[in-house]
Symmetry: C2
Subunit: 477 residues, 2 copies
């Protein structure tokens, strides 16, 4: 008798309950796992069969292999010792929301293919807009990543600057130019590449001593391009840059954008979330004048990857840049959002559900408390660094990320760089925490980003101990 | 005391077990739910508060609202009566895999940010490659959707045709041209729009009486464009078009592509999966000569949305089209895949895990059995239609999707169209099944796509009964 149907409900229940317990244990005992995986390249692949099985395997077998083969190869992002990249927490409420999304398996491409997915997307985005203190003129779309959100913004700018470019394409037109600081996320340059504007079309504006875009230099670059016959269309300002979390002066950049009629996109993928905290609203100054904004709940808002919230005052332009409705997707409803019209992807997961779970399970106050605590921990660490000889803070700390370095006297720059890289490796090899580094104007610095929901002062303190131990060890070696 | 940390492990366990049971019940009793939601526009949004709560809410409260407010607004894609769009099954093993991905919350951007995610992606794609009978020269990447997979393919074609376009952009270059049949998915045109090639850059090649691209017309179009000074770069052939599931003659199209040096992309998002079945391998003829191929496990391979498998013989060109490595993501490992180099998105979910669960839980034989059964059911329905007066099959049925119409004698075309649209609405209003329609050369036809893992002969038979009843009712009315 050939196989049909799914596995039995009993088998699903049994395995599902097992997994819920496994996950609860996993989160309760992160100390069992080295944060950065110790796997060697090829090790996981070699432990797996070369082909799919001919016959069905039981879920018990699959779960056993998951634990024995996959887990040792996991770098544990959902771990309180994960301090390497922007805070990515798959929180308990968020994971339950994701479980339900998977079970419903809805494609939120058209309103009618799931009214609840479309309307919950509208509602949760409006909740988030209010939490972020954005004007009611902004409305939004949930995309997968900030890379896509920023690309969509740039595509809208392209269409706004040259209506009909969607139809005609870019050939034969004057070269378009987009602007961001030398600290902007690589996704801005990638968007320019993807959209046919090219890497050379991306003008990198120098940042100041505190890694913020210099509006005067932006104006110069725009004027230079206009004089050369190029077509400036788009500026990306960043609230919380990737390397140092610096905050571009959005208000002054908005002035420049208005003067030249350019689309202003604000990348607040990480830092924008801080605007939920009343005393952090300053990071958002001028943002109401942006044409579009991205904030990623999967970065610092406890939502499992992926969930990127895009807001715009000009969603009609976004729609104009992308909308195409084939015959097999015509529907009769009017006055509803068919979100597939606002982007590249036709297939759209029901991402609003997990965001709704997160916003409700913590509430505004719970979110504010947690973000405040992360910022407090970062300032604690900053204080310890400042108070310790031979260590220095490498950039201002506006949010929950600290860039710093070990800088003993009388050592040449090249050696200091090597020492800091060695310290990072040494700390990461302990498995207790995972930190990253970046290069700032030729200097290798250590980068510690706080934001996991279960990270406490103890974790940050332990990281600082490990860093100091590593510095001693590297020095002695 | 301000809130910190996540909700308690006990609360997670309690809600998690509840949800697993809810999901099992949900799948066991699909008859409780109308497949197409009966919600009116705005109804769900109005049932929700205007703002996020100030204070935390319990998971019990959230789950209650999920059941009472959200579920009635869901169109049930994961339902055996969902026959409207290509088979989207969130199968039990796939959902469990997705649950674990959410709990681990890994970002598979770099090998080191999760060796297991990267290597399992390599391994499961190679398993799938073998299942699909693709040559070992193909290797792959998992993207979110076929829209992105096809856009990536076109971007690679753009770079291959004009090396350095990534740097220079498209301005000043001759207009690029891409080709697909008039039956191709809208994502091809959307990719051309996004990449700056434009809608006008997309040449739509007429299909034959069976909705297959005509290679002679393709050659003519290419020659015409070359004569006009344009730059042909890319052809998308489709194996299983969206409207009728027709199969383009890939072999002959490959000849044309080789003659003119164009990138051949095969969109097998739905139909490609059938190549797992030995007697269906014919759909794949010539595919080994494609430059890239996309097959979506989230369509007809029981994997929850999203999961799109992209294969290419020229992954180096894909990398060249996109790769950019910022300082904060430099890593020391060589000879490993950093998958972020192969696309737009830096953030990448651990999608291989659910695919691995699916491939193992059913095994090759289990998958073949299920797909064969879907094709058998489609042919059953085709037979019933052919045997019934006043009904006709509107297109060949190579896979598991049937296009057909009610066509009583002596009725003008406009009325027949209206009648078929009315039949679709009437059937969908029963809530028992959800079917779609499309327009084929001016004719409104009914489209019934089989592919949910729990769809049985009973569901298809019931759909057919409802269709006949609806035809009688519409006629009588």
């Amino acid at each position: 008798m050939p196989e049909a149907g799914d596995i039995s409900a009993d088998e699903f229940r049994h395995a599902g309950h097992q997994l819920i317990d496994w996950i609860a244990d996993y989160w309760e005992h992160p100390e069992r796992y080295p944060v950065l995986s110790r796997a060697r390249p090829g090790e996981i692949a070699r432990a797996l069969p070369a082909s799919a099985p001919e016959e069905p395997e039981t879920l018990d077998t699959i779960l056993r292999d998951f634990e024995q083969i996959i887990v040792p190869g996991v770098t544990h992002w959902n771990h309180p010792g994960f301090l390497a990249y922007f805070a990515v927490t798959g929180s308990a409420p968020g994971v339950l929301g994701e479980l339900l999304s998977a079970a419903l398996n809805v494609n939120a491409m058209l309103w009618r293919t799931s009214p609840a997915a479309t309307e919950l997307e509208e509602v949760t985005l409006d909740w988030l807009r209010q939490l972020l203190n954005l004007p009611g003129t902004f409305s939004g779309v949930i995309y997968d990543t900030a890379s896509i959100s920023s690309m969509v913004a740039m595509a809208a700018a392209r269409e706004a600057a040259s209506p009909g470019v969607k139809t005609r394409g870019l050939a034969g037109a004057p070269p378009m130019r987009v602007y961001c600081s030398d600290q902007a996320h690589s996704s801005i340059e990638k968007a320019a590449i993807t959209l046919g504007i090219g890497r050379e079309g991306t003008r990198t504006i120098p940042s100041d001593a505190e890694y913020r875009m210099q509006p005067a230099r932006l104006r110069e670059a725009i004027e230079r391009d206009i004089a050369a016959g190029d077509r400036p269309i788009f500026v990306a300002a960043t609230v919380g840059t990737t390397a140092t979390t610096s905050v571009d002066p959005v208000l002054e950049i908005a002035d420049v954008c208005e003067e030249f009629g350019l689309w202003l996109h604000v990348d607040g993928a990480y830092g924008g979330t801080a605007a939920v905290i009343p005393e952090m609203r300053w990071v958002w100054e001028g943002v109401g004048r942006a044409d579009s904004i991205v904030v990623n709940p999967h970065k610092w808002l406890f939502t499992p990857i992926d969930c990127s919230a895009f807001f715009s005052r000009r969603l009609d332009v976004v729609r104009a840049a992308f909308s195409l409705v084939p015959d097999y997707l015509r529907t009769s409803e009017s006055d509803v959002h068919n979100y597939m019209d606002y982007g590249v992807q036709l297939g759209r997961r029901f991402r609003a559900l997990k965001l709704w779970f997160v916003l409700r399970a913590y509430g505004r106050e719970g979110i504010v408390d947690r973000l405040r605590e992360h910022i407090r921990l970062a300032h604690e660490l900053e204080g310890w660094i400042q108070a310790t000889p031979n260590w220095e803070v490498a950039a201002p700390v506006p949010f929950s990320t600290v860039c710093f370095r070990y800088n003993p006297p009388g050592v040449d720059e090249e050696t200091v760089n090597a020492v800091n890289l060695a310290i990072i490796d040494c700390v990461n090899n302990t498995g207790e925490v995972f930190i990253s580094g970046t290069r700032l104007r030729g200097k290798e610095v250590i980068r510690l980003a706080i934001g996991h929901i279960r990270t406490t002062e103890e974790h940050v303190h332990r990281a600082w101990d490990l860093l100091q131990q590593a510095a001693r060890a590297v020095n002695a070696g």
